[in-house]
Symmetry: C2
Subunit: 83 residues, 2 copies
Amino acid sequence: MDMRKLVGRNFERLRKQKGFTQEKFSEASGFTQQYISGLERGRRNPTIVTLFELATTLGVSHIDLVLPDDDARSDRAKLSKKK
Amino acid sequence: MDMRKLVGRNFERLRKQKGFTQEKFSEASGFTQQYISGLERGRRNPTIVTLFELATTLGVSHIDLVLPDDDARSDRAKLSKKK
DNA sequence: TGGGAATACATACTATAGGAGATAAACCTC
DNA sequence: GAGGTTTATCTCCTATAGTATGTATTCCCA
């Protein structure tokens, strides 16, 4: 269970949904494009403060981390919009 | 909006609900008692990997971070049990 | 009120989060 | 295949996450 990849994959999906390039997102969030790249590729282990800042820039208000059962083969996680 | 305090307060509540002392929890999780203390007092900024390990030790499978509206005065967050 | 259990504080240390800058590699579209 | 744009890789740097150890403090309760 690799939280880095779990967060990276879902972040990338949401970034694209929002129409951000890595560069545009880096300008909006203050993180470097290189950091965003590493994050999406599962090479970064963001802190909760960083996670909050990323979510805020994405316009996401609800971070929902579903930790898979051991017997579940695939990782699952959602970053869902406010109700 | 201080994610450290938000997580710290909710972690402390859940730890007590589960009947752990900081010392017992540190033995179960591999983190030091001192780290747990700092975490609960909002002086630590855990990474997502750390957050996952803490949740796993607590027997929590669903991490739900609700980011308050700007006009909401109080922090809110839930670490909820699996359905 | 004293003594053990639980929590907080202090200091020093190693590993890594995150930044800055340059560049490489893909990925278009013409 | 040239040229722009987007993403990935690399190196070096500082700040801090997390460990280890010791101790202080707070909280009980007999």
